[in-house]
């Protein structure tokens, strides 16, 4: 992608500010009246669509839904001032989330770089989604709908129960976060142990175990990339929505939610050095299998 043509939906002063930074990042800016949405909204030569969350986030999500329906092939950048709650996106997700409050020039340059060259191969992203989805489904009977997006912002906690498990290897680094409310984690608990009710600490523990199983599957996947994963200490965070739990700013996020209940998963990869590795099927034990040793 040599020329990047950015279609910008922004309102008021934000439009000129964002357009200025996009131009400085080497993009060609095209604008549309954001209040007149129709089927010809997105020109054919558009490389990327930028939507400013602004002061009316619900209205902006309407724009996101429309452009994603019209042109699902074009990446969408969601611009926020500082922090984002990914739970606010339901069926339609942006491909990038950018917070430009602290260093807008760098933020938009990073987006341009990502658009020109994806540093994490799509095959790897798909494999991650598959192992996370299958691992959690098999263990807990809940099915996450997963998507991948690049994040350059902090996140806020959306639910009262949160577990965060950091990990690192010679090829990847990041964390997994499981977040849910009483009803969601209670329903998973009761599915596993019918007739019992969890206390708050049980719900925290369950969220930790979901993270543990998901990381176990990621660990298994990475064996195929000749890499061994080490885990950090799990963190249990309270449900104050003002708490920011991802402070490192740039990375790939595999984000998922379980339809119908308030349970979310966020796998955050600050970096992943897997581009030139041909994955193999390593010698390892498979989940559920019995191995006499």
């Amino acid at each position: 992608m040599s020329e990047i043509r950015a279609l910008v939906f922004a309102w008021g002063e934000s439009l000129s500010v964002i357009s200025d930074y996009l131009t400085k990042a080497g993009m060609t800016v095209v604008t549309r009246d954001p209040d007149r949405l129709d089927v010809d909204l997105v020109p054919d030569d558009t490389s990327v669509i930028v939507i400013d969350e602004g002061a009316e986030p619900d209205k902006r999500r309407g724009v996101l839904r429309l452009v994603k329906r019209l042109r699902p092939d074009i990446p969408v950048v969601w611009h926020v001032l500082q922090a984002v709650s990914l739970t606010s996106f339901s069926k339609y997700h942006p491909d990038f989330v950018v917070a430009s409050m602290l260093d807008p020039g760098r933020a938009w340059s990073d987006v341009a770089d990502r658009l020109r060259e994806s540093p994490i191969p799509d095959e790897f992203k798909e494999r991650i989604k598959q192992v996370l989805r299958d691992g959690v489904q098999n263990a807990f009977g809940v099915s996450f709908e997963l998507t991948t997006l690049y994040i350059q912002s902090t996140s806020t906690i959306a639910h009262p129960v949160n577990t965060l498990l950091p990990f690192v290897s010679d090829r990847v680094g990041g964390h997994i976060a499981i977040s849910g409310d009483d009803a969601a984690l209670g329903s998973v608990w009761e599915r596993l142990m019918p007739g019992t009710r969890p206390k708050f600490v049980d719900e925290q523990d369950l969220a930790g175990e979901i993270a543990n199983v998901a990381i176990g599957r990621l660990k298994e996947l990475l064996l195929g990339y000749q890499s061994s994963l080490s885990l950090g200490m799990p963190l249990y965070l309270g449900g104050d929505p003002r708490v920011l739990y991802r402070t490192s700013k740039s990375g790939l996020v595999v984000w998922g939610h379980v339809p119908g209940i308030n349970l979310t998963l966020e796998l955050y990869l600050k970096w992943a050095d897997v581009a030139n590795i041909v994955p193999t099927d390593p010698l390892h034990a498979h989940e559920g299998e019995f191995n006499w040793v």
Partner: protein, 124 residues
């Protein structure tokens, strides 16, 4: 007389899930939340079998198995490791420490119970 299984895992979810499952299959169950606590319990009481997690704070599963095997009455008691860890290299360390079997979480109830019945016999 019912056989007694000691379940060692730092996750309350796993301890309770396993306890309900094993009790439902006719076994008595006691639990411990780390290797050190489990080892102390084994010095006071004889169990017919042990199922342990691998990654636990303090004493991990492999160290626990190694220490357990030093207690004469536990030299030949079956010990299953139930963990998300699937690497052969780590399994080999478990074997060297004295583990009997290795199961990658999540466990499949039918497979786990068959393995238990193989080492303990069918529960009453």
């Amino acid at each position: 007389m019912k056989k007694t299984i000691l379940v060692v895992d730092d996750s309350a979810t796993v301890r309770q899930q396993l306890a309900i499952f094993l009790q439902g299959n006719g076994y008595q169950v006691e639990t411990a939340d780390d290797g050190s606590t489990a080892l102390a319990a084994c010095r006071l009481k004889q169990f017919d079998m042990v199922i342990t997690d691998l990654n636990m704070q303090g004493m991990n599963g492999i160290s626990f198995v190694g220490e357990l095997r030093k207690i004469p009455s536990f030299a030949s008691v079956p010990v299953f490791v139930l963990t998300t860890e699937s690497a052969m290299e780590v399994m080999s360390k478990g074997k060297a420490a004295g583990a009997t079997a290795w199961i990658v979480k999540p466990f499949r109830p039918d497979i786990l119970i068959k393995g238990i019945q193989k080492v303990l016999g069918v529960a009453a």
